[in-house]
Amino acid sequence: MIRALCAVFLAAVFLSALGAPLLAPSSYARQFRDSPNAAPSRTFRLGTDELGRDRLSRLLYGSRTSLLLAPAAAALAVAVATAAGGAAALARGVPEMAFLGAFDLTMSLPWMFLLLTVRALLPLDVSPAASVCLTFALLGILGWAGPARVIRTAAREILSADYVLAALSRGLPRTRVLLVHVLPNLKPVLSAQFWTSIPVFILAEANLGMLGLGVAEPLPSWGSLLRDLEGQVTGSANLLAHCWLLAPVALLLMTVLAVHVLFGPEYSQ
């Protein structure tokens, strides 16, 4: 029942994000300068932000940004992790140690500072759309090490299975063994890594957004919407009186929860 509810919820969020141009009452960038910080009304269902932009429109477009690009970044991270994890599983001796060292080193890097540095080195004259794609691409490229360790362990187990040993002893090339016998059997692990990476990247982009380094203005994302909360959270009474401001937080939490219920390690067994 809970899984069905989560599936319906996720489907609704994805569909509304995809249909943002049709559903949003106005452009996400349009500034109604006579109504900044407006409370919810018939005109602005979720009120307006500091610049008078419709919060509902920004939430819909922001969901599209975060929900479409986070899976893309997760796919990129899992692809890199599959290549690195697979190679590490096949390697022995010094190369194996080198792979494991690379995993550990990458995981121990202060990725936030690394992202800040890489982001600062990127050209400035990129459009907001390109900037958001670059941000998620960076997240994907830098987020491979964790999944790679898991994939290596799983691949090593499969490689020592009888049917793989039999295939190898019959003289099948190693690449064919990998592609035909190992990879299909890794599918559940890859799927779990993919789905569990999505919320990680959504939260990472939100973190970058909080620093003002995620998605460029005026394009919204969940990160930039969360950043708008900065300074508003100075008292519980104040927050309760303006509870509609918490819509992006609620949506982010519920989405992450739904993804975990549907595709988390316990449920994916």
């Binding site: 610049l51 800040l116 982001r119 400035l124 003002g212 380094l213 460029a216 104040n238």
Partner: protein, 545 residues
């Protein structure tokens, strides 16, 4: 009946006295946003260190932050002679440092020697160092000191507001204080406690020794939201530099505590990169070097909207480089450019740009688009950039906004010049135009749009050089010649728009109920400039501290 009237009059007088007479004692608490980098008064340059220096040291002349006039402090009087080459101070008699060491002319000369000591690295040194010759300090008598300058220097008297006088003979060395307070305790990363100087020389009208307060506790609180929460809960008594968001919140909840001080000395501005060495495409450089392009961009921006929406009314549309808060040096003839997208577009068309569809193209057919960089983490600036983005759409110009971490931003605008336009603010702490000698001359490092030029790149920059030199060397007691020269500087800056001034943020502070005699000023340290006269009302919670 007559007796009754007398009794009533006496009672009323007593009530008035008990209500008005300042109460001695109590502790004032407020937050500083960072730990002071140094407690050495000669090295103070950051805001917390400067505040501690202000409260714990004495100066010869004090700038009255309310009237912006110079007033005698440790010097009872002063006289400028020999065409500005000689300044004679007559010092107050009977003044002692906090440890009882008498204050004399010897201390003034000792302080100057300390500042000019090789390797001392005092920020004040540059102001009293001369290219040719050396400042000579002569202690004529215990209460008279003469400074002989190798060359006249304008605005020299104002400088002494920032020169802390140290003791030449005290066993406590630099810790001996001539200010209203002295450093009484400190916990790294937590707080700094300033105690009352028991030998402070100032007295109030009733002859009582100042300061009224026993101590001031400066708590290091980096997060301004927490500062606000602690003010609400009565933990803090004052907030300086209140942000527009915090002002709005406090105004709604504790309206009697907030004070709007009006326009500040600071400004927010944007500029285009005109540095020849920067890796900016040649066609974009041409736009940025075009006066019409810069003026059109300036004309398309709705400064009123920025002041109203981003600053919630706590800012004033900017008219030029000097804010009206600088009462004497502001050029009152300048007015903020009214937003007019049509006029901006027609200026661009006149300059050869063309609209095709909804976008603007330059005479060579390149689409007109540029990126504004600003510092990440500053929401007001990012919002301003977003508003400029929308304003410029009306002229067909596409703007991207990139928020960079501060070190990367500074590297781009000062070293690599790899940027197109930048939006930042300028914090002005001094009134005199001499303080802007590092901005307006074409050779200056902070001539941000094209810094450190060997020869002025344009005629108007050559004129800026000449005018700044003229105001720096004109020695007229009324400052008329200087004012005329600096007014022209401001006019040229507005006409040429190398900096496009957006708004002057207003200054606002919060003062807890029960804190009396706070005469807050837009000049730093806003609420504490007359700290020796601040007292706590006996009826408030703060008084129990």
């Amino acid at each position: 009946m007559k007796q009754l009237v007398l009794w009533l009059a006496a009672g009323a007088a007593l009530t008035a006295w008990s209500a008005e007479s300042p109460r001695m004692g109590g502790q004032l608490r407020l937050a500083i946003q960072a730990e002071p980098k140094t407690l050495n008064p000669l090295l103070a340059s950051d805001e917390p260190s400067s505040l501690v220096r202000y409260l714990t040291t004495g100066v010869l002349i004090r700038l009255n932050r309310a009237t912006q006039t110079l007033e005698p402090e440790l010097a009872a009087s002063w006289k400028v002679g020999e065409g500005g080459r000689r300044i004679s101070f007559r010092l107050r008699n009977g003044v002692t440092f906090s440890d009882g060491t008498p204050f004399s002319a010897q201390d003034v000369c000792y302080t100057i020697d300390r500042i000019l000591e090789p390797g001392a690295e005092s920020m004040i040194a540059d102001a009293i160092r001369f290219e040719k010759g050396k400042l000579v300090c002569r202690a004529d008598r215990a209460d008279a000191v003469t400074l002989v300058l190798p060359a006249p220097r304008v605005g020299f008297a104002l400088l002494w507001d920032g020169v802390p006088i140290l003791s030449a003979r005290s066993a406590q060395k630099d810790k001996a204080s001539l200010g209203p307070f002295l450093i009484a305790g400190q916990k790294a990363g937590a707080y700094l406690l300033l105690g009352r100087n028991p030998r402070y020389w100032k007295r109030d009208a009733e002859g009582r020794q100042l300061p009224y307060l026993d101590s001031i506790r400066l708590e290091i609180q980096r997060n301004r939201d927490f500062e606000l929460l602690r003010f609400r809960s009565g933990d803090f008594d004052l907030i300086n530099n209140l942000s527009p968001d915090s002002f709005e919140k406090l105004k709604a909840e504790m309206p009697s505590t907030v004070r709007q001080l009006g326009v500040s000395l600071d400004s927010e501005q944007m500029w285009f990169n005109q540095a020849p060495g920067g890796p900016v495409p040649a066609h974009k450089k041409q736009w940025f070097q075009s006066r019409d392009f810069r003026l059109a961009v300036s004309q398309a921006i709705h400064r009123d909207d920025i002041a109203r929406v981003v600053y919630k009314g706590l800012a004033t549309p900017a008219s030029g480089p000097v804010s009206p808060a600088n009462l004497f040096w502001h050029n009152a003839a300048l007015r903020p450019a009214p937003a007019d997208a049509k006029a901006a577009l027609s200026r661009l068309v006149h300059a050869g740009f063309r609209m095709r569809g909804q976008w603007l193209y330059d005479p060579s057919g390149n689409p007109v688009q540029f990126t504004i960089v600003t510092n990440s983490g500053n929401q007001s600036r990012q919002r301003m950039a977003a508003m400029i983005q929308q304003d410029l759409l009306a002229t067909g110009i596409r703007v991207s906004v990139a928020a960079l971490d501060f070190p990367s931003l500074i590297d781009r605008i000062t070293q690599s010049f790899d940027y197109e336009a930048c939006l930042l603010g300028m914090v002005a702490s001094e009134l005199d135009p001499n303080e802007q000698m590092n901005v307006w001359p074409s050779s200056a490092g902070q001539h941000q749009w094209n810094p450190s030029q060997k020869k002025p790149a344009t005629d108007w920059e050559a004129e800026l050089d000449r005018l700044m030199q003229q105001q720096a060397s004109a020695l007229d007691p009324t400052n008329k010649t200087r004012k005329a020269a600096f007014d022209r500087v401001q006019q040229i800056v507005v006409e040429q728009a190398p900096f496009i001034y957006l708004v002057y943020p207003n200054a606002a502070v919060a003062v807890a109920p029960g804190v009396r005699n706070v005469d807050a000023s837009v000049l730093r340290p806003q609420t504490l400039w007359n700290a020796e006269r601040i007292y706590l009302d006996a009826r408030t919670k703060t008084a129990s501290r």
